[in-house]
């Protein structure tokens, strides 16, 4: 009895979370299927409503033959670029119920790519990395011939006493 009530309450809670504010745009797999490319403004509005987006946020892929019809271009947003602390319905993809997903979502999961913007821009990273390593390695090659020399006594062989003229060292 107690357990059943718990399950029911959890179901109600989940439903409240997902259906409370408005009816989600994308529920079943067939809802994700893109329609034809929207040409007019009215079509754009309809498409934006279909995917649950604001009309000013909605932007389809360019219709150059490689596009995806009226499916919205959500940009290159990988999972690790979203906030870690949000209360998501799907914590793995960091996605809420009924939210449209990026076309290449399976390539943008957090374990595959880390596209989160860094504290330093990418060009700066490349520059300073190359600067550091090239300077270091180049300096080593430049300085290679300046030896750190500790004077050693000439090597002495037992046979040196026998043949006088032979030398095994140079100074």
């Amino acid at each position: 009895m107690n357990r059943l009530a718990l399950i029911r309450s959890s179901i109600i809670f989940n439903q409240a979370r997902s259906f409370s504010s408005s009816k989600p745009a994308l529920v079943f797999a067939k809802d994700f299927k893109p329609g034809p490319y929207p040409e007019t403004e009215a079509e754009r509005r309809a498409a934006a409503k279909k995917y649950g987006l604001k009309p000013e946020d909605y932007q389809p892929y360019p219709n150059d033959g490689f596009g995806y019809g009226d499916y919205p271009n959500l940009g290159r947003i990988s999972t690790d670029m979203k906030s870690d602390w949000g209360d998501y319905d799907d914590p793995y993809l960091k996605r809420n119920f009924g939210e449209p997903i990026v076309v290449t979502q399976e390539q943008l999961t957090a374990e595959k790519v880390t596209l989160r913007p860094q504290r330093v821009s990418f060009s700066n990273i490349i520059f300073w990395f190359l600067f550091g390593s090239v300077t270091y390695i180049g300096l080593h090659y430049l300085m290679w011939d300046y030896k750190c020399y500790i004077p050693l006594a000439p090597k002495q062989y037992p046979r040196d006493a026998l043949n006088e003229g032979e030398k095994h060292f140079k100074i």
Partner: protein, 564 residues
Amino acid sequence: MTSFYNHLMWFTFLFTSFCFSLLMSFYISYMNQALYVSINMFSLWNNEMSVSFYLDYMSSWFSTIILLISSVIMVYSYFYMAPYSKSVYFLWLTNLFIFSMLMVVNMSNLFFLMLGWDGLGLVSFFLIVYYQNQSSITSGMFTLLMNRLGDSFFLLTIALFFYTYPDLTMFSSNLTDFLSLTLLLLTFMTKSAIYPFSPWLPLAMAAPTPISALVHSSTLVTAGLYLMMRFSYLLYSSYTLMQLLLILSLFTSFYAGMNSIFEKDLKKMIALSTLSHLGFIGMAFSSGLLHLAFFHMLTHALFKSLLFMTMGDIMINLNHSQDIRYLSSGMLYTPMSCMVMYVSILNLLGLPNLSGYFSKDLVLEMMNYSSSSILVMLVLFMNVFFTYYYTYQLFFYSFQPIKVLPYQNFHSPMLGHTLCLFIMAISTLLFGFFFLSHICSLTLFYPVPLVNKSLPLFINLIMFLHLFLNTKLFTSNSPMLNYYFSNMMFLSNLMLTLSSNLYYNLSFMLVKSLEFGVLNYSLNSYPKMMFTHLSSYVLNLSTLNPMKSVLFMSSFMVLLSVLI
């Protein structure tokens, strides 16, 4: 209780093999022998593939050390991995890992060496993703991809070796092909995390601590260096490669030491110290000190695994917090672990007459005579300074009066656990002297000027005085400088960002333009179109008056027969 028996079983197995291996290595090193066992597995067509084991003093002592460390870890992980109820899974993976490392150590045929080599990379992936959270999967994937780079180099090396001279053992000495030598060196550099390939090493910290103790001391990272020493007859033939290796490994050591100054994560700091030691060993190897480099590798394996294990003991009582600033409470509540930790730290410092001293100071002294450039010597002593710095950092933080984090759930380790660590500490203390005086007979003793002899000790003293009289650490206030050096001079940033960008942007562009684009259009939609045209034609024919079509066909047949 079953997990206890599992651990006990594996410990017994590993410990007996350790005893056997110890006897074997005593025999081999005292008798000055080398055993070469070659079993012809299969004669594949025109060349025979033989599994060949080469047991000389190097491989036997190294496998002894590995077995010692791993049998201690079997006891250690019973305590450490107790909350995670997957003991069979964990132990099998760990022992597969150890087994593949032993194969790398003892085999000499390149083809079968790949068995252990690839096993190390793949099994380490499964161990790193043991906790199955997002960050551990990310770091596991990155580690595996970096190791796979080495595997591809290795495969190419095998192919090129075979192509130039169809003998894949390390004794095939009539080979001077520069490309294959470069590939061989690159292979070993990826595993032992020398300069361009190092960012995976701190990331591999996502593994459980017993695994880190294995990976970072004696197994995964030293496999590359060990094979370098194994293939030294080939690698020493090229001066340019050895020069390159010297510079790169010094660089590795430099930025690892620099990074560990700015690091406040305990495990990561020790990983970086491993990296700097790897650079040190690589440098010693590339300047010709083969046996000393091997000696330092052994002592490093002992004290670094001990350091990791004691660090895990302290960490488990700090709620797995890895912050170095909580270390002071560790000193108060687990004095035994801390004492053992100090033993390994003093070894790492190279305090006179401890085992770290014998190996490290000998390398430093011999470097004076290796006629290397002034800059090399300068950077080398800077690296020594960094080593002292980060080890004294551990001392410094463990003696802080402020207890930041009180103990919440105190786990008292078993007696056997503590005993094992204690025995390990004693063996670490004694190993250096024993090995130098009894085994490593190839070392020559030079008289060294007093300045050179006392330079490391002098640096040591300065650091000690500065820290404990001044009670202050060197820090830099510039956040950009901290960021620069705490990311390996942007090497790790670059690697991660570049791999993501290459993966996503470049290859997606390639795939989209060709596979989904041009080829799809030309080869896929054209036949489709043709098919629809054809079928509509057939449909039209079938809807015609049947009599008409029969007439048409018969006239066509008549025409055909007349023509023929």
